[in-house]
Symmetry: C2
Subunit: 228 residues, 2 copies
């Protein structure tokens, strides 16, 4: 691949839900991106130069270096308006942002982070063996989250309302990481399973379904589009 | 105070930086608000009805119940435009959001949460004695943050650029909680001290400087406007 400083490039890790959210938004907006895997936990001056917070995602785009997934996604939505991923009405925009925070803060702290920390990061970073109590706590917490989302989907076509939004991509980013290691009990909610099957079939999802992390094999159904 | 369901009411805790951010924005926008202290760690169905995430801040406003501080603040800025707390240019809006996330995510995890957990929450929630290692780790981390912010302020009047924004209030919310318990080494950076002295003298800050948490006395300089 020929690259130059004008190429849009994402420094990322395949199983980071925050990076996946940005990848999904780039895909929806049809922005071509070069993916560069970053072993951010190893630190280093280049990493800190790109993002003083020392983490991924970092998007090099239009001569800027952008960090923080929500700030990146809102910037992309404001500068590449088609298709819109934020509603126009303030109360609806509020609901999208509330749910993005729900996933990136609460769901991440209670579910994604404890499960991935034990099942993925300890293996990738070689920092020890999984602690099954942490995994159990995440698998217990995900049940309440699935029930809450099912309840939202009783009256809404998408998570934040009747239009597809950033909230759906934030949620799908987390669920897809957990689904890679087969930690989502899809039998618990038909509504949520249908929602995920629909969003998973979008072209923006293709690169995510093709992800392979060395030593951690995806669940057999991970890339299937008719799993529901 | 006479109240009715139309009164804007904030369910909060005085030493939550997320609640303080919302209070500062309400103050800047001159929205009168009734404050109701919420012992959110005790749980309960009313708390969950107001916010299924079970935490504060929750703002009752215009017949809605709003949660998640960043979503609330952006909603207030979109619906009560004066004074504006977000710039108009996308790249500047991005920088405001990046820094809000910096404080509410990174600064909170490395500094505010470990220090307040040990020095405030354990006392308020009666869950044990402070662990001095956690406090030390927070006090070590705050040095790097102060240095980073000083560096930003070398070329900017406010944290995210040359206009006052949500980023300043997110930052001031965290610093003011730590300053209440005297955990900010203001001698480390004249630029940051001047920035804080300026923002602290705004009328929106008054209610925060008057806060009193039973059993936890504010530092003697906490409410002084000429401490710098």
């Amino acid at each position: 691949m020929t690259t130059n400083s004008q190429t849009t490039r994402l420094y990322h890790h395949p199983l980071s839900p925050f990076c996946r959210k940005v990848r999904l938004v780039l895909g929806e907006k049809r922005i071509e991106v070069e993916l560069l895997e970053e072993r951010y936990w190893e630190g280093g001056p280049e990493l800190l130069r790109r993002n003083p917070a020392g983490k991924v995602p970092v998007l090099r785009h239009n001569g800027m270096l952008l960090a923080e997934s929500q700030a990146i996604c809102e910037y992309l939505d404001e500068t590449v308006p088609q298709p819109p991923l934020m509603p126009k009405v303030p109360s609806e925009r509020y609901e999208v942002r509330r749910l993005c925070a729900w996933f990136d803060d609460k769901f991440n702290a209670e579910v994604t982070q404890p499960i991935l920390q034990e099942r993925v990061w300890k293996k990738v970073m070689r920092t020890g063996h999984p602690d099954s109590r942490a995994v159990k706590s995440g698998l217990k917490a995900i049940k309440d989250h699935i029930d809450y989302l099912s309840q939202l989907l009783e009256t809404r076509r998408w998570l934040a309302g009747n239009t597809l939004s950033l909230a759906d991509f934030a949620a799908a980013a987390h669920f897809s990481c957990l689904d890679y290691i087969s930690d989502v009990d899809w039998d618990r909610s038909e509504a949520l399973t249908n929602w995920y099957a629909t969003i998973k079939s979008r072209p923006a999802f293709r690169s995510i379904l093709a992800d392979q992390v060395p030593g951690i094999h995806p669940a057999p159904h991970y890339a299937e589009l008719d799993f529901g």
